[in-house]
Structure formats: C-alpha cells, structure tokens
C-alpha cells in the first residue's frame, strides 16, 4: 500500500458517475468466488474499504462470512433480508444480483423498495422479456440504473468492479485496471468487454470505465445511456464501443453524433457482419443478436455510424489500430497527458493457486498412506474400489490392505475372515456382551451400547489373544524349550495366556480351536509358533486335562505365524505390538455386541436393575 494515505472520503457523486473508490455494494446470493474477486480488485486498486458491504442470502441465515482483503482476513456480514442489510449499511448504493433467471426480477423489485440502491446489476441470463420490460419501466420512474440482464457487469478502473468482470487478478493487473485511464468503453457482450480492456490497455493510457450491458433484447441500460455518461464525464477523453447485429440502439448513437450530443471521439464497431453469409436467419449467442430488418444488420449500422462521424474500422482486425490512432491524436493535441504508471500493490498469492502452480510449499500436518478418496474412484492402497469387487478380495483382503498395507495371499485373507467369524460372539454372559445388554436396556443407542461392551475388552476379556501371541513368540524367539517356558512362567507366578479352559478339555475339545488348527495346518506354509504351542500344550495337559490351548491362544499364535509368513519378523512383531490382534477381536466381537443390542431392542427389554439379593451389602 502507498506509504502516505489520504483517507478516501465519500463525496456526492455526479449524475454521470455510477461508482467511485468508496462505492460499496450488496451481493445478492452467496457468490464466494465473485465476492473474493471484487475484494482482490479493491486491494490492487488501493481501496480503503471493501467494495462488498454485505451479502444477501435469501435462503440462508444472518451471519458472517470470512474473506481476504489483501493479506488480511475480514468478515463480511450476511443478511437474509436486503432491507435489514440496507438499514445497517446506509452508504451502499449498488446491488449486484446473482439470482437465477427465475428469481432475479424479485431481487430487483426488492432493491426498488430501497431508495439508497441507485444502481442494480442483473447477472442472470434468460429473464423473460416482458418481465424485464416492466422492471426497466419501473426503474425509469424510480430513477434507478439497471445494468444487465445477461451480463458480467462492468468496472471503473481503480475504483469499483462488478462481480466477475475482468476475471482474475493477473488479468486485472495485466490490463492495468487497478488505476484509471481515459477511455470509456461499453459493449453488449461481457466476454468481449474483457477482451476490449486488454486492447485498450495495450493501445491507450487505459480504461476509465467499462460496462457490458448484456446480450438480451431489452437491456436495463443501453449502449447510448453509458456513452452519454462518458460524454459528460470530463475524466473520459475518448469513447470506445462495440455494437451488435440486431436492435436499433446504435441508431440513437448515430443521432447523438449527428446532433453533436456526442463530441468526444468514438471508436465503434458493430459485430455481426457475417450474418449476410448465412442463407437463413441465424440466432447468434445473444438473445438480441438477430436482424429482423435491413437497418438492424451490422453492415447498415457500421455504415450509418461512419457517416455520422464515428471512427469505424474495416473489420474487428483493425479495431485496435483505430483505437491506438485515436489515442495518439488526443495525446498529440494535449487532451490526454499520459501519467507515470503507478506501481500496483503486490497481491498476496492465493494459497491454493500458488500451491497448484508449484510456487510455494508447506509441510503437511497430516500424512496418510492407506487410502485416497480424492480421485474419480476411491482407492484402498493401490487398489481401486471397483477392483476390490472385480477381484473379489473379500473382507479379509480389504482388512489386509487397510491394516497391513498389502493384499496378502488368499489363504491369509481367508484366515482373517475365519478369525472374525470365530470371535463374532460368545453368548450374552461374557462381560462385554453383558455390558452391552445392560446399556441397551438403560435406553442407550446402538453406538453407546456397543462402546459400553467394547470398553470391557482388555487383559481379562479378549486380551488373551494379544497376550498369547506375545508370550509364545517371546519364548520361542528366546529359544526356550516348552518346559523352560512353563518353568519360567511358573517361577513368575503368571498364568500362560491362551492356555486353559473352564470346561473344555483334551477329551472334550473346543471345536473352534479344532477348526482353526486344521485350517492353519492345511493352508499355512509353516506354523512354527503353533507347533511350539502344541508342544507346550502337551506338557500342560499332562498335568491337568483342561489346560488346553484355548481359542484365544490358537488365534493369537496362528495370527503371529501368519504375519511372520508374510512380513519380516520385526514388522510382524510391530503389528502385534500395535494391537492388531486386539483390533481383530474388537472388530469381530462388535458384530455380536450389535446383535445383542438389536436383540434386546427387538424384545423390548425394560430397564435392568440388579437385584439386592445378588449383592452382598456389608461394612468392612
């Protein structure tokens, strides 16, 4: 920003000025990108106040929305009602409506009700003509200016920019729109207006103001209306205009030239000379661009304008040349004194854009390596979700990728699924299931009831899987014989995790264990930990019949075998230390817990209160 700053004061605008450096607007409908572009323009134009005072969001709620104003962030109020906004922001005199063609007329009517809103911009294309004519007639009565519909808006260089006019900030700087020049421009087309600003920047001292009136049959304000404003404005030294085939607005300009109402040099071209090439009527891109009579053709208009004294090129190809020649003449006559080019404040680069362009870098706060949802398809590791199904990798495959970052062979994935199936439930009496049931009966929801059960999982419940895997692999790795292992545990006074069952025994084997054991024997390349554990079991069961390798033990130990088959030992151990086995139990048993929750709900079970007689009340 400039070092010395004079405060920009709001002064009474002349009748020919719609905007100045203090003009503030309401944006009707939440248009984040367009609003930010206006504020970016404000910054490079060295404005002190943002050009958007408030956003009207008729379908939302009152509130605040964050935007950038140069390097700073500011809050712009959001109002549901335009009237409320106007009450709070009495200086606002421009309303820019981004409402759709259906609701744009309503937004204009609303602005009519508010006296301070002198200039109303309608962006939407496709407003019914009859409706628009009503609005135009009413605007005239109420002394308001409408720009549009079907327009991008307009810009007063260095002062005020409507919506998306002139595009991005790079273009605004390149086309020198951050400071005023001497050229007043008006066109129908919004797209071409931006092109014209580029031409004007390259061939003159720059744009003073440019308006795109929009391509509709009945624009709220006409080419002529804006040219007359420029004619009256002493800061505008030359006029540049782009007309279009269709309509007769250009003849008002011819008349104004004839009657010397327009005295400033006017470079003008009417587009649509190609219409004669077409054998039948062609509707061009703009609704109004259709010649119904000879006088409405581009050729006839260009001819009439030239005759009346406008500077008319031979084709659009030498439009720039004519503009340049006219400008040079004005400089030569001393009517324009080109000033030094001010340095535009440097616009802080937009983070997302700079990042995309590879201009800046930043360490990320998070890192993730197992899945990616950003592309067209969701990926689990390297596998697109469609392949997950095409290759039928099953739940075990998905778990394998997401937990262990690789798709393990089918035998391993199947084993994971087997484990989940085996641990899915173990009746209502175990502590976790019981807790789930009690919570459910206390009226809690599914997640609360589930979590209440899951929180029981630990060293005594479910934790044996983890413990068994750790104990057996540690003993095996240290080269202890099964007897040495048993002796060591005995000396420590610790039970061997995964050994022993309340009722099952050598003669009454646990089918779950049998199933798992058989699967491993049949499908694993090798299973040294299981073999080791079975040796241990031989010794323990020789002492007592029920000291068998139980289901927790067989799962934990076999899982460790599987990991060691698929990963280096240290990686396999790390997964076990991370709690992968616990995780497997949590995952599997959640199925059962949720089942119990639903079961209780289905049975409409009432609140459970534990009976007194089941509690021993006593004092120590």
């Amino acid at each position: 920003m400039a070092a010395k700053k004079t405060t920009q004061k709001k002064t009474e605008k002349k009748s020919y000025e719609l905007f100045d450096k203090t003009t503030q607007a309401f944006i009707y409908n939440r248009q984040v990108a367009a609003t930010q572009r206006m504020l970016d323009f404000d910054y490079v134009s060295d404005r002190e106040t943002p050009s958007v005072a408030a956003i009207i969001n008729p379908t939302g709620k009152d509130g605040l929305e964050k935007f950038f104003f140069g390097p700073k962030e500011i809050l712009i109020p959001v109002f549901k009602s335009m009237k409320d906004a106007a009450k709070k922001h009495k200086n606002v005199d421009v309303m820019i409506s981004f409402a759709s063609f259906r609701s744009a007329p309503k937004s204009v009517e609303e602005a009519f009700e508010i006296k301070q809103l002198k200039t109303i911009v309608v962006i939407a294309e496709g407003v019914p003509e009859r409706r628009m004519k009503e609005l135009i007639a009413k605007a005239k009565k109420l002394d308001r200016v409408i720009i549009g519909p079907a327009t991008v808006g307009g810009i007063q260089a260095g002062a005020f920019k409507i919506g998306n006019t002139a595009g991005t900030i790079d273009n605004i700087i390149e086309s020198k729109l951050g400071r005023p020049g001497s050229v007043g421009f008006v066109s129908k087309s919004g797209g071409l207006s931006n092109e014209a600003y580029n031409i004007i920047a390259r061939n003159t001292d720059g744009l003073y103001e440019g308006i795109a009136i929009g391509g509709d049959m009945y624009p709220g304000s006409t080419l002529m209306d804006h040219l007359m404003r420029y004619e009256k404005n002493p800061k505008v030294k030359m006029l540049v205009c782009l007309g279009e085939v269709g309509g007769v607005d250009e003849y008002n300009i011819v008349e104004a030239l004839d009657k010397k109402k327009i005295k400033k040099p006017l470079v003008m071209w009417v587009t649509g000379t190609c219409a004669k090439a077409f054998k039948t009527d062609v509707q061009f891109g703009h609704a109004g661009a259709k010649a119904d009579a000879e006088a409405e053709t581009a050729d006839a208009k260009n001819k009439a304008l030239k005759k009346a004294g406008a500077i008319v090129p031979n084709s659009f190809d030498d439009y720039a040349l004519k503009i340049n020649q006219t400008y040079k003449k004005l400089v030569k006559n001393g009517k324009i004194k080109p000033g030094p080019e001010p340095v535009a404040p440097i616009m802080p680069a937009d983070y997302a854009k700079a990042m995309k362009a590879g201009e800046i870098r930043k360490p990320s706060s998070f890192i993730s390596t197992i899945s990616d949802e950003r592309g067209e398809e969701l990926f689990y590791g390297d596998m697109a979700i469609s392949d997950v199904f095409k290759k039928d990798i099953g739940l075990g495959g998905v778990l394998s990728i997401l937990w262990f970052k690789k798709l393990m062979p089918r035998y391993a994935c199947k084993f994971i699924e087997n484990v989940l199936m085996v641990v899915a439930d173990h009746g209502p009496a175990v502590s976790g299931a019981h807790n789930t049931i009690v919570a459910t009966r206390a009226g809690k929801d599914l997640i609360s009831s589930l979590v209440s059960g899951l929180l029981c999982i630990g060293p005594r419940f479910g934790g044996a899987i983890d413990g068994a895997a750790q104990m057996f692999s540690s003993a095996y790795d240290r080269g202890l014989t099964p007897q040495e292992f048993i002796d060591e545990m005995k000396a420590k006074g610790v039970n061997i995790q995964g050994i022993g069952h309340r009722v099952k025994s050598v003669h009454n084997p646990d089918m779950r264990v049998t199933v798992m054991k058989n699967y491993v024997k049949k499908n694993f390349k090798k299973s040294p930990l299981l073999d080791y554990a079975l040796e241990v079991e031989k010794l323990t069961t020789s002492k007592r019949d029920n000291l068998i390798l139980n289901v927790d033990g067989v799962i934990g130990i076999c899982f460790a075998d599987m990991l060691r088959n698929e990963f280096p030992k240290n990686v396999a151990d790390e997964y076990i230390n991370m709690g992968a086995l616990n995780g497997l139990f949590v995952l599997g048993r959640s199925i059962g817990f949720m089942g119990h929750h639903m079961d209780q709900k289905r049975l409409k079970q009432p609140m459970y209160r534990h009976p007194w007689d089941d509690i021993l009340y006593m004092k120590e």
């Binding site: 004519k133 007639a137 797209g191 054998k279 062609v282 061009f284």
Partner: protein
C-alpha cells in the same frame, strides 16, 4: 434463448384452447387445425376429423414461410381429395421461396372461410422496449402493402391492459361502424392472450369477420422462450421450428440437447459441411466476431459452421462439443486442407485450462484423422489459467504431431483468422 417463431397451427390451436378465457367466452375459435408432417398417415385423418370431408378446405405449408400465396404455396377452397393430392405432390420436395431453398415437410389444413375482401383486416402486436405496439389496418390480406406506413398504431405501455373501449377509440376507428365494437373486444382478448402467454410477436393477416364470428386466417407468431417457466403450461406441446431452408442436422440437434442439459451455453449451426474453415470459439460475442472476420476476409463460402461455447462448461461437455465438431469436419477430406480456429477472447471467469482439457481430449481422439486431412489448427485464448491451457494444447504438436499454433492475449483476438487464411484462398 430468445424470441422464437412457432408454427401457425400451434399458434391457432393455442387461440382455440385459450382465447375464450380472455374474452369472457366471446369469439371462440374452433380447433379445426391439422398439422401434417412427413410421418402423418393422411388416410386416417378423415375418420378422426369428420369436418375434413364436409368442409371446403385451405392448405398451405406451415414452416415460417412468408408470402405463401405469392409463391403459389396455397390451395384455397378445395376438398380433402384435392388437398391430399396437393400435399402428397409437395411433401419432402424442395422449393425455392425468394432466395431461400428448403424442403417442405409441414402443412396446415383448415376449413375455408368464404368471405369478401371487405371482411379482411390486418392486426399485429409486436414487442418494443416501451411496451407493445398494436397495429391495425381496416384492409387486410396479402396485398395490404407497406403496413408500417399505413397501419394505425397504438402503444400499450408496459404493464397496462387496455379495455375494449380504448381499442375501439384508438385502434379500430377506421373499421366499419357495425364492426368496431366486436373487433375491439376481440383485440382486447387477443392482447391479454398475447401478454399472458409471453408472446413477443403476433400477426394475424387477415382477421376475417363473417357474421358474428371472427376468424384468424393467417397467423405468424413468436414466443419469448425464456418465459417457458412462466407460461410453458399454457403453451402446451409447442415446437420451435428452424427457419425455412434450414434443416437441423443430427449434430446440431445433439448440441441443442447438450445445451439444454448444462447451465452453460453450447451452440452449433452447420453452414456448409463442405467448407474448409471450422471454428470452435468460446463466447457468444467473440464467436460472432470470428465469423465476421472470416466473412470480412472474403471466405464466406468456406465458413463451415457457426457456434460457441461459454459459461464455463465442464470438461465432459466441452469434450462432447469439440468431438462433434471434429467429427463433422473430418467426414470428407479436402485436397486443399482445412482450418480449425480454436478462438476466444479473454475469459472473465471460465477456467481456460479446464475447458481446454475437454478440447484436448477430443483433439487426441481425432488426431490421426486431423493429420491425415491436413487440418491446421490455430488457437487464441486468454483468461483465468490461460497460460497452462495454452501450454497443454500446444503440447499436442510434440505429443501427437498436430499442426497447431498457439497464441495468447498478446495477439489480437482475430489475428489467427488472417494468419490461417493468408494464402489459403
């Protein structure tokens, strides 16, 4: 989206259906209008419309053709047998009206209303900025002459609904005394009908009065198609036919369909499929200027198409649009080679790199055909992300060997046209 002409039969059917709602039931128009297209089974018609065999008939093409009488495209006071023969002799045949040649494919058949020349009047309403201009002349018919000079004009200011008394005083003063009131009442209803249905233009020439009835003999009308969401229900199943002499190609209809599906704009008119200069231009305004420049440089006859894409269409739509044009332009090789102008001004908010990805995809797909047919491609564009967009499209030269030149905002918008056509003649 704009004012669009409708078929005479559709306009008259609308009158038959709705006018009575605006006249308090007076001056009803009977729905005795039949549209006959190429698919119509004419043998079945007399069964469905009993009056066909009872009444004397009028037959004429219904394809937005002006002055049909003068071009002998009118059969009056005939019977169904003759009418059928007359239509069969003309259906799907080429005719030239004025300078325009086209194929006849739609006819309207209606009862012949016997009347005298003095019973004919001219009536029209046309939309102007200040409101609507109502025109009346106490003589009507094909020979009415310079109606702009002759007619009584009455401006109905925006938002007003004149009464029959006003029409009687200001519009129909020159009509015969005994018919003033009924004409005024009819026009009052017609104006309400016109306004409520969002017509932009409505001409009945002549309006014929026989006894107590009023008949619209010849009708031409345009609807403001942006008002479909307001009046669409009342319009019913209305069609907006192409101007006579223009046959919509399947590609044009396809682009129309895409256009209807997106909030953006996609337009295509094939002017000369054998032409060597094809354009794919962004922006309603810029596209006209490119076509102008081709015309201004004298290549009017080689201009193959007019079209535009704008309003930030997404990649898929841009791709489909580009593909359609590339497909059309490579259907028949031309020894002299062809040109493709991928033009545009400096976009306000369209992401150039993004829209170009669709065009690039299509160019890749048609790369071999484009090379084989010596298509030289010129690109000029500016706007958000233009540098990246130009770089990507320019890379096709190296990548797949397309003959492509790429320019940005530093080059005047239409210069690529003269670059392309220099020595191209």
């Amino acid at each position: 989206m704009a004012q669009k002409a409708i078929r005479e039969a559709d306009g008259k059917k609308m009158m038959a259906r709705l006018l009575k709602d605006y006249t308090g039931g007076k001056y009803p128009v009977k729905d005795r209008y039949i549209t006959i297209g190429p698919e119509t089974d004419m043998k079945k018609l007399p069964n469905k419309y009993k009056w066909l065999l009872k009444e004397k008939l009028v037959v004429k093409p219904d394809q937005l053709i002006k002055r049909r009488g003068k071009s002998k495209l009118l059969l009056l006071n005939t019977d169904w047998k003759e009418a059928e023969k007359w239509i069969k002799a003309r259906m799907s045949k080429k005719v030239t009206v004025g300078k325009t040649t086209g194929i006849l494919d739609h006819f309207i058949v209606e009862p012949f209303i016997p009347h005298e020349q003095k019973d004919e009047y001219y009536f029209a309403i046309t939309s102007v900025l200040e409101g609507d201009l109502v025109l009346f002349y106490h003589e009507g018919g094909v020979d009415v002459g310079d109606i702009d000079a002759k007619a009584t004009k009455m401006l109905v200011p925006v938002g007003e609904m004149p009464t029959a008394a006003e029409f009687e005083k200001k519009l129909v003063a020159k009509a015969p005394k005994d018919r003033k009131k009924m004409l005024a009442e009819f026009f009052e209803g017609m104006y309400k009908f016109y306004a409520d249905l969002n017509f932009a233009y409505l001409e009945i020439n002549p309006v014929v009065v026989v006894g107590k009835d009023v008949y619209p003999l010849d009708l031409a009308a345009k609807l403001d198609d942006t008002a479909r969401f307001v009046s669409g229900k009342k319009w019913g199943d209305v069609e907006f036919p192409s101007p006579f002499g223009r046959i919509r190609t399947p590609e044009e209809e396809y682009i129309d369909m895409l256009d209807g599906k997106t909030g953006s704009s996609l337009k295509l008119t094939v002017l000369n499929p054998e032409g060597r200069i094809w354009t794919m231009v962004a922006g309603g305004g810029a596209s006209v200027i490119y076509a102008d420049t081709i015309t201004d440089l004298g290549f009017m006859d080689e201009m193959a198409n007019y079209g535009e894409y704008s309003g930030n269409p997404n990649e898929e739509f841009t791709y489909l649009y580009a593909k359609t044009i590339l497909d059309l332009m490579t259907q028949k090789p031309n020894k002299k080679g062809k040109y493709l102008i991928v033009g545009g001004g400096i976009a306000n908010f369209t992401d150039v790199a993004k829209t170009f990805t669709g065009i690039i995809r299509a160019l890749r797909e048609y790369g071999d055909r484009l090379k084989k047919q010596n298509v030289k491609i010129y690109v000029r564009r500016g706007g958000p992300n233009y540098a990246a967009g130009l770089k990507n499209i320019g890379a096709l030269k190296e990548e797949i060997g397309l003959d492509i030149e790429v320019y940005g905002p530093e080059t005047h918008m239409t210069n690529i046209v003269s670059m392309a056509l220099k020595g191209g003649k």
